[in-house]
């Protein structure tokens, strides 16, 4: 099948004036003085890709990476500074929450206004009106002005109108970030249906799970450039890996060990390193790779047989894995000088996401946070990037090994 979107070496430059000179009066004064100067900002640089008819492509990237600008260029809202964009068929952009609906008008008026912008004859809109309202589940609110709608209602209306316009290409940006779960599911299902009926979709989302379930291919944008493109799973992995590295950099600035101490303090946990099997420090791990936690400790006085504990929490904050030296029958004897203890976790059978690690050191047989020598919440975090969904998030059975050095 042919391409419905062809993007050829597209760049987009924005001008940002140094001083806000938004008045004609200033401009006239400016003629005698210095000229208005601008900062140039390349929102997109040299982007090329195709979207095949009937396929769906995801766009991922941080805020400000150029995703929305790219959608606006494809939607013919902005024009590219250089390069060219060709599209085939009717495009329906759904950008942001209100997608350009007029807040001062009622829901009903907006359906007709938006429909006519999309070139849908009024008669057809009348015929489909009930269907639109039904899909949006907004029956009794159609005569209410949009400014009195909740964000979820706005999204529902926007999405329902968009569907009714029967576009060949849908550009979806953040519309599905709001609204209740049921409606989002309904929309995702509908998008999938549209997609399978031969329409093309370009989808921007921060939720990589949505992108994964919806898109055949994906593009990962960073600072206006394509970092990675192709198979969705691979691109999402690249993205999560990249984000993990970024967050790692940011996290180094504040240490969780500096905060107020939870525990009685006879022995303290002083550091946590996460490394791979070659002792190389890193925080992004794929599911089948071993994670080694190196925990530093320092006793203030000799401590009899302390028990070290590690907890791994899911992105939702649920305990997914926990172990301790007592359970693994590791007797540390009397600890009187500082040292390190390592825990080798053979693999991380969790869905992708950011997992936080809690550390604790306890009196033998009394593994309660209240009775701890020292307990560090959020001592560190690792990113699991492979995203193997088939594993359950329940407590995983993993081979582990404690070592004292």
């Amino acid at each position: 099948m042919g391409n419905v979107i062809k993007v050829r070496e597209v760049s987009k430059k924005f001008r940002i004036p140094h001083e806000k000179r938004a008045t004609l009066f200033d401009h006239i004064l400016g003629l005698t003085g210095k000229r208005v100067t601008y900062d140039e900002f390349w929102a997109l640089k040299n982007i090329s890709f195709n979207v095949e008819k009937g396929s769906s492509m995801g766009l991922i990237g941080k805020n400000g990476s150029g995703k929305s600008t790219l959608l606006r260029l494809i939607g013919n809202i902005y024009s590219p500074t250089t390069g060219s964009i060709e599209t085939v068929g009717r495009i329906m952009p759904l950008i942001g929450l209100t997608t350009g609906m007029q807040l001062s008008l009622t829901g009903k008026d907006n359906i007709f206004l938006y429909g006519s912008i999309m070139g849908i004859p009024r008669k057809r809109l009348m015929d489909e009106y009930d269907e639109i309202v039904e899909f949006a589940e907004l029956g009794e609110f159609m005569d209410l002005k949009l400014r009195d709608y909740s964000s979820g209602m706005l999204a529902r209306l926007a999405f329902s109108i968009a569907l009714a316009t029967d576009p060949d290409i849908m550009l979806i940006d953040e519309v599905l970030a709001v609204g209740d779960l049921n409606f989002r599911k309904k929309c995702m299902k509908k998008i999938d249906e549209i997609n399978s009926s031969g329409k093309s979709i370009l989808f921007v989302s921060h939720q990589t799970s949505q992108v994964k379930s919806l898109c055949d291919t994906a593009i990962f944008l960073d600072s206006g450039k394509i970092k990675s493109m192709g198979d969705t799973d691979k691109v999402v992995d690249d993205y999560l890996h990249f984000m993990a590295l970024q967050e790692e950099k940011a996290e180094k600035r504040i240490s969780p060990f500096d905060g107020p101490i939870a525990g009685t303090g006879e022995i303290m946990i002083t550091s946590l390193r996460t490394t791979d099997s070659n002792n190389k420090e890193k925080t992004a791990f794929s599911s089948d790779e071993p994670l080694i936690l190196e925990i530093g400790f320092k006793p203030l006085k000799p401590v009899e047989r302390p028990v070290f504990m590690v907890q791994v929490l899911s992105p939702e904050g649920k305990l997914v894995y926990g172990t301790n030296t007592q359970k693994e029958k590791l007797d540390l004897g009397t600890v009187s000088k500082e040292g390190r203890i390592t825990l080798n976790i053979a693999r991380l059978p969790f869905p992708h996401g950011r997992y936080t690690i809690n550390l604790g050191v306890f009196r033998e047989g009394k593994l309660k946070a209240k009775l701890a020598y020292h307990f560090v919440k959020n001592a560190g975090a690792v990113f699991v990037t492979s995203g193997k969904q088939e594993f359950s998030r329940n407590q995983a059975k993993v081979a582990v090994k404690w070592n004292v050095t």
Partner: protein
């Protein structure tokens, strides 16, 4: 050419926008129109009092002279609000593609429709105040149509410039007020004789021709002056073409700037 084909293609959108605009203008009620008429009529009463009793102005049927001038001016004065139309629809412009001239045209069309209603009221007022209604009155819609073309031209230029310059609105309001006094609305047109140094302003002010022509058609009931007819034609065509060129020049940048 000059977007006329675009207007036809998007006629349903234009209609939706016009209906939406009129609805919000008249707050969804016929009474809304009544209230909107109250403003010019009350102003007329005040001015009639001031000029006839305070300044002791003596001229034939001054009330009708004033009201017909004011009503014609009101249409041109709507540029003060149509100039806000592109900014007003910034949400739409930033999120979906459509020809932006549609917005300008529909704002002006909404003004035209209001004006047509107001002129029905003016027609009644003319009968009540003893205006000479003759067959010439049928040309009134044609003159309003020409004025409509000129209003579109001004709206193109103003609404585009207003996107880039925030103080455009204040500047235009001042210009409008100056033009109001340059137009023979509250004073007799005969005060500006051809040998007067102000006669050139009178000729170059497009609104002079419209106001004078409307009075011929709706008040005196005789033929409009050829000079005024030429003036109206020339100014409305120049205004439309010039406004359109300015608009087209900046059209592509509008979504980024609003």
């Amino acid at each position: 050419m000059l977007s006329i084909r675009t207007y036809y293609k998007y006629r349903e959108l234009i209609w939706s926008l016009v209906v939406a605009d009129l609805k919000s203008k008249y707050k969804n009620s016929a009474l809304g129109f009544f209230w909107s008429m109250l403003d010019p009529l009350l102003i007329s009463i005040v001015m009639i009092f001031v000029f006839m009793h305070v300044f002791d102005l003596r001229m034939e049927n001054y009330p009708l002279y004033l009201i017909s001038g004011l009503m014609t001016w009101r249409f041109f004065n709507s540029t003060a609000s149509t100039m806000r139309v592109i900014r007003g629809y910034s949400g739409l412009i930033r999120k979906i593609y459509f020809p932006k001239e549609i917005l300008v045209l529909s704002a002006c069309l909404s003004s035209l429709i209001s004006t047509l209603f107001e002129f029905v009221v003016l027609f009644i007022i003319s009968i009540v105040l003893g205006g000479n209604i003759t067959g010439w009155i049928v040309l009134t819609p044609l003159v309003l149509l020409l004025l409509f073309v000129m209003v579109i031209g001004f709206s193109f230029a103003l609404s585009t410039l207003y996107v880039f310059y925030e103080d455009m609105q204040h500047i235009w309001n001042v210009v409008l007020r100056a033009l109001f006094y340059a137009t023979p609305i509250i004073y007799p047109a005969t005060r500006i004789a051809p040998d007067s140094p102000y006669y050139i302003i009178f000729i170059l002010n497009p609104m002079s021709h419209f106001v004078i022509t409307i009075r011929h058609l709706i008040m005196y009931g005789d033929s409009p002056a050829l000079g005024s007819v030429i003036g109206m034609l020339v100014f409305s065509i120049i205004a439309y073409v010039a406004g359109f060129i300015i608009f087209k020049r900046y059209e592509a940048r509008l979504p980024e700037e609003v």
